[in-house]
Symmetry: C2
Subunit: 259 residues, 2 copies
């Protein structure tokens, strides 16, 4: 089917889903752009409600799987694609998807492996980048608390599909969750920029662990820190000068490197 | 002295220095914004030719050192500050500075320590972020080849002052430089996303080393790779899915963590 009008209701809904986390919350839907991300969604079993594509995009090898999985597909003109596009070099492929259920449980964490918790991460690109790194290094899943919306298009782009694959659990009571995990034997750690904390190189993460990475400016909250063993990256240069995603990369690598 | 006009020649020059790498190249000058960066420049002995500031900015404790070091200082109105501002939350402090000489030499590298080389890094924010991480972790200096302009305001902001402090050497012949260093006994490595390369955890970096981090999309050039021992971060998740600055952070941490 071809959509000829910019005022088509499905196009208007897609634009709103891209722009508004409130719209995403109310509908349970989200917006994805680009061959790679839409292909990742199709591969990950995410329900694709509507697919919009330009004639050019339909020539791409990755397009076939996306169109197979999409429940409805609409060809659009370039001017409508430009309205949907969030990036400068748009590929002309856009999906409206259903938010999947959360795949990570507390029991999964207790069952073993290295997990992270992200607390109050506010920048969508940061959130995406940290999850991308987590997946690449082999972190088994992430708990999110107070973070920006994982379905923000900027988060999804920076995540390069990892937010569609990495098992996630969203909670509004991170201290409560960490307390329960601790009682069940999971090692509970918090990354802090404090030279008095334990050197990350000497930490025994054990059979099951979760490490909290805090807000870009303010770090981990006091309530959370009180439950955790504080761990830190020793700085040889100027103190406190790693940015949030670089610090997260080093912390996650160090958690994983001895396993 | 007070500048009342947006068309003042000094203001126009500052705007051009912020916008144009050609202007920066022709004049040997560059533009900095913000209390922290201008303060860092003053602390690092960078020559501050012109300082522009709003009345509000002059109240800040960091302002005093900047005004002491500046050769000329001009108070500006808020509307002129808005013209100079590159950031949304501008602090009303701007400097035009002289590019300092390069502080790193080939002999410094041979003399010992861990260095990095950045080849064809194209994103200014990436370049700044990698140099910030390098300084924080204790990398002794960076060789740059084919990278974007270190004096781009986006590079300087992401670097949080590290580009004003970290010893740098710019070359247009990285393979030649690496060959000479290798002959003099420096270990010469290249970070590659290739599972067949040596696991970064098992590399002996030795007394003097330099590790090349390549372009965001294409990695290290063939000419450079031919001279270097390839090293890699073993991936447990999906291959090749660390972004450039996360990969650089992990590589640099691993170089430093055993020293």
């Amino acid at each position: 089917m071809v959509i000829e009008s910019k005022n088509n209701e499905k196009i208007k809904q897609a634009v709103q889903l891209a722009a508004s986390s409130k719209e995403r919350k109310q509908t349970g839907l989200f917006f994805l752009e680009g061959l790679r991300l839409c292909h990742d969604a199709a591969l990950s079993g995410i329900r694709i409600i509507n697919l919009f594509y330009t004639a050019d995009a339909a020539q791409h090898s990755r397009f076939e799987l996306i169109t197979q999985k999409a429940e409805s597909s609409y060809e659009i003109r370039q001017d409508i694609a430009s309205r949907l596009a969030q990036t400068q070099s748009s590929q002309g492929v856009f999906c409206v998807c259903e938010k999947p259920g959360m795949k990570l449980t507390e029991d999964d964490i207790v069952s073993g492996g290295c997990f992270i918790a992200l607390e109050n991460i506010q920048d969508p690109a940061n959130l995406g980048a940290v999850c991308r790194t987590a997946e690449a290094l082999g972190i088994k899943g992430a708990v999110l608390s107070g973070c920006c919306d994982i379905y923000n298009p900027k988060s999804q782009r920076a995540a390069m599909g990892s937010l569609l694959r990495l098992p996630l659990l969203i909670t509004d009571d991170l201290p409560g969750l960490l307390s329960r995990l601790k009682k069940k034997g999971t090692g509970v750690f918090a990354a802090v920029p404090d030279a008095a904390a334990q050197d990350i190189r000497t930490v025994e993460f054990g059979f099951s662990s979760i490490t909290v990475i805090g807000n870009e400016a303010n770090g981990v909250t006091r309530e959370t820190a009180n439950i955790c063993l504080p761990v830190t990256i020793p700085m040889k240069g100027r103190a406190e000068s790693l940015n949030a995603s670089a610090a997260a990369a080093v912390i996650m690598w160090e958690i994983i490197r001895r396993t």
